[in-house]
């Protein structure tokens, strides 16, 4: 307890003054939290405030963020190849920056980082790892991290898992994201390990393989008998739902209770349709981006995306003018990770190209003390600006995945045409009934559809939105022939329900 208290003091000093975290203190806090949960069953009420930073009024928050931004800008001007010229051209003296002046710092474009990631690396940085984004909207973006930063990211993941207590030590977690998603893997494994869960970083394998793993029975002491938590991208989860129902699996085949998801849009339609396969699930969503890690957004129950102000500054700006948008208006999310969280790749006002809506406070949700935006609406590059305004991925995808005739995940494309948008979508069967159902859903969500094209083969899509489920990894096994511990036929199918079970599995 005394050790943890000392560690806490050092941690508080870093939070307060922006000095680097003491890594051993971070580990001690993680150990102390875990020991507390093991011994007492739960952390005290103030745990969240202790590791999440104090509740700040707006003026204090601006003062602190202004100071941290200034020190980050000074480092950028002094030690990176990119910023000295850019700041000088904008007439910005980093040493004199205040919170109000942040708007004068030019926004850093995604393409600029993508083209020359090393121009953003500090000369004195101790580079340890290169991490790339998944490259949904083009060539993957590279970000360099030090051991210190990876340690901090892991520790904060552990803090979040333990303070939120939404997962339990007896859970078995399967991670089904691409194993190249270094930070995603790190945060989930570190977070789960801290809570004491058993983690299987399985990767994103064929849906058949993953479904087998999810139905596998375990006999681990103190753990649930089946995988109870799945960490996955929404589109891959959709693929599991589609394939699982096709194979005749049902809720009794699984022990899944929770799904940790992020990186893509999770729609209400997918959530509802997943109940057919897995039964009722709870979904834990957050917003994380390689370029801004560990500045992450947490989704509250009211659907706001909240950002911890000590970790970074989140702004919602007009995509073209880069001026703040009015509450309720869409804009791009622009973020700056502040010290002591980021020390290697310095990004000032980085344009994520993710679209959100600015929100007017005050909020009444559980995270009301933290600044917030709306949930992500989609990628700017994949959004369509037309005569009536904007149509975002969320508008279209929410509509499409509600319709049963659209296989999960929805494979679609959309673009601006005179008077609205053209939408193309893969359906099971291109019938008039399906068309009517889709038109109704799209209209309900305010999508001004001018052209709707239905295809039965996804290869026929002209401009498909890229899906992370397509980053699947190969394995040597032929699912139906191996894994002797697992029954090859889903129990639900074996009881005579719909599904082709073994025959279909062998055919893959």
């Amino acid at each position: 307890m005394l050790e943890t208290a000392f560690a806490n003091l050092r941690f508080a000093a870093s939070m307060l003054f922006g000095v680097p975290f003491h890594e051993r203190s971070l580990d001690r806090i993680v150990d102390g939290m875990r020991a507390t949960i093991e011994e007492l069953g739960a952390l005290g009420d103030e745990a969240n405030a202790l590791v999440g930073g104090p509740v700040l009024d707006e003026k204090t928050r601006h003062d602190i963020q202004g100071r941290r931004f200034r020190s980050q800008a000074m480092r950028a001007a002094r030690e990176t190849a990119y910023y000295p010229e850019v700041l000088a051209a904008a007439g910005v003296d980093p040493a004199k920056l205040t919170y109000k002046d942040i708007a004068r710092v030019p926004v850093t474009a995604k393409d600029t980082l993508r083209d020359n990631p090393e121009a953003f690396v500090r000369r004195t940085a101790k580079i340890a790892t290169r991490v790339t984004s998944t490259g949904t909207t083009g060539w993957p973006t590279s970000v360099y991290f030090s051991e210190y930063e990876l340690h901090v990211i892991g520790a904060f993941a552990a803090f979040a898992y333990m303070t939120e207590r939404r997962l339990d030590p007896d859970d078995i977690v399967q991670i089904a994201i691409t194993t190249r998603a270094t930070l995603g893997m790190l945060t989930v494994t570190r977070g789960c390990a801290a809570v004491g869960m058993a983690v299987h970083p399985a990767g994103m394998l064929s849906p058949d393989h993953t479904l087998r793993l999810l139905t596998e029975k375990h006999h681990l002491p103190g753990k649930k008998p089946k995988v109870s938590v799945l960490s996955s991208y929404p589109t891959y989860f959709g693929q599991l739902v589609e394939r699982g129902l096709e194979l005749g699996y049902g809720p009794s085949d699984f022990g899944l209770e929770k799904v940790l998801t992020g990186g893509e849009l999770l729609t209400d339609g997918l959530r509802r349709r997943s109940e057919q396969l897995f039964g009722e699930l709870s979904f834990l969503q957050n917003y994380a981006l390689t370029e801004l890690d560990p500045m992450t957004g947490n989704l509250c129950l009211d659907g706001h995306l909240h950002f911890e102000p000590s970790a970074g500054i989140a702004e919602v700006l007009d995509p073209e003018s880069h001026q703040p948008v009015a509450p309720g208006e869409p804009g791009v999310l622009v973020g700056t990770v502040l010290p002591p969280y980021r020390e290697t790749t310095i990004l000032l006002r980085y344009n994520t190209e993710d679209v959100v809506r600015a929100l007017a406070g005050p909020f009444t949700c559980s995270l009301r003390n933290l600044p917030a935006t709306s949930h992500v609406l989609g990628k700017l590059r994949l959004s369509a600006r037309h005569d009536h305004g904007w149509t975002f991925m969320r508008d279209v995808q929410e509509a499409l995945e509600t319709v049963q005739a659209v296989p999960l995940p929805a494979r679609y494309g959309f673009w601006a045409v005179p008077g609205g948008v053209a939408v193309e979508v893969r359906v099971r069967s291109a019938t008039a009934q399906t068309r009517r159902a889709l038109e109704a859903q799209l209209a309900e969500r305010g999508v001004p559809v001018q052209q709707l094209r239905l295809v039965e083969d996804p290869a026929e899509l002209d401009r498909p939105v890229p899906l992370r489920c397509d980053l699947q990894e190969a394995t040597f096994d032929r699912v139906a022939d191996h894994s002797p511990a697992v029954a090859p036929v889903p129990a639900t199918a074996a009881r005579g329900q719909a599904g082709t079970g073994l025959a279909v599995a062998r055919g893959t």
């Binding site: 307890m1 005394l2 102390g32 939290m33 011994e39 069953g41 745990a47």
Partner: protein
Amino acid sequence: MWGALLVVAGYAALSLLAGWAYFRRYRVTRPAFGVVSLTDVAIMLTFIVLVPYLYLTLPLWAVAGLLGVGVVSAVYLALQPLLRGRWVAVVLCLGLVGVDVALAVGQGVTGTAFLLVNDTILALVVVGAANLWAQAGMKARDAAILGGALAVYDALATWQLPVMARLLDRLLQLPLFPLFAWPVRRGTIPDIGSAGVLPQLLGVGLGDILVATVFALAMRKAFGRPAGLVAVAVTLATVVGALSLLSSGLVTTAIPVMTFLGPLMIVQYAYWRRARHGERTTRQYLQAEPQPRQA
């Protein structure tokens, strides 16, 4: 003389039993995370060894200040869950300490009114501090190790080194001194130190009762009510035995109580651990025996 024994033993019993009742009924304000571990026991032992030298080195006003801060913190910790409103606890806590100081100044530290207040304050200190440690998840194993280590230290410090006698000599000049004590007729009690007031008092150290109470609570949590009650009974028997030896004049030197209690703690722990096949966590204890009322 035997009256003094009754009062001192009575306060030791009161501290143990009040600590026990409090443990079942109230929750002290503990840190949001962090449990008492073996490292904490090592840190405590280091403090226990070093603090006497600190007290012997510092000016008297500084020693009084340190004692005051420690006592006020522990008493506040104990009172806060019992009273509505933090300020009530603060006022009561400071009031008690104020009365203690006033009586010490006005009446001297051997006056019965002062000793009554001082012993009551010490009982509250035991309740607060013991519950903080026990409710912060201290394991019975760690409490037994603490007792075992103190057994060695107490023997050395009391019998082999002059430090304990000099410490008592110094602390007994101050209010809030850490000894459950009651006056006896001058000359009837063996001189267990060189302090001017000590021959007039029969007493048992605050630290002894505090460690014994922590151990009893940790045993209660780890192995159940019988193990806790046995720990209470063993402590009281040891304390009464030591006080009787002093009161009867059979022993004429100070008795290091922990030297006798420490090994008994280790024996108890070993027995119950074997009998119960391991100790319970606080979570398991509260699941098996929910608190009658959450305060």
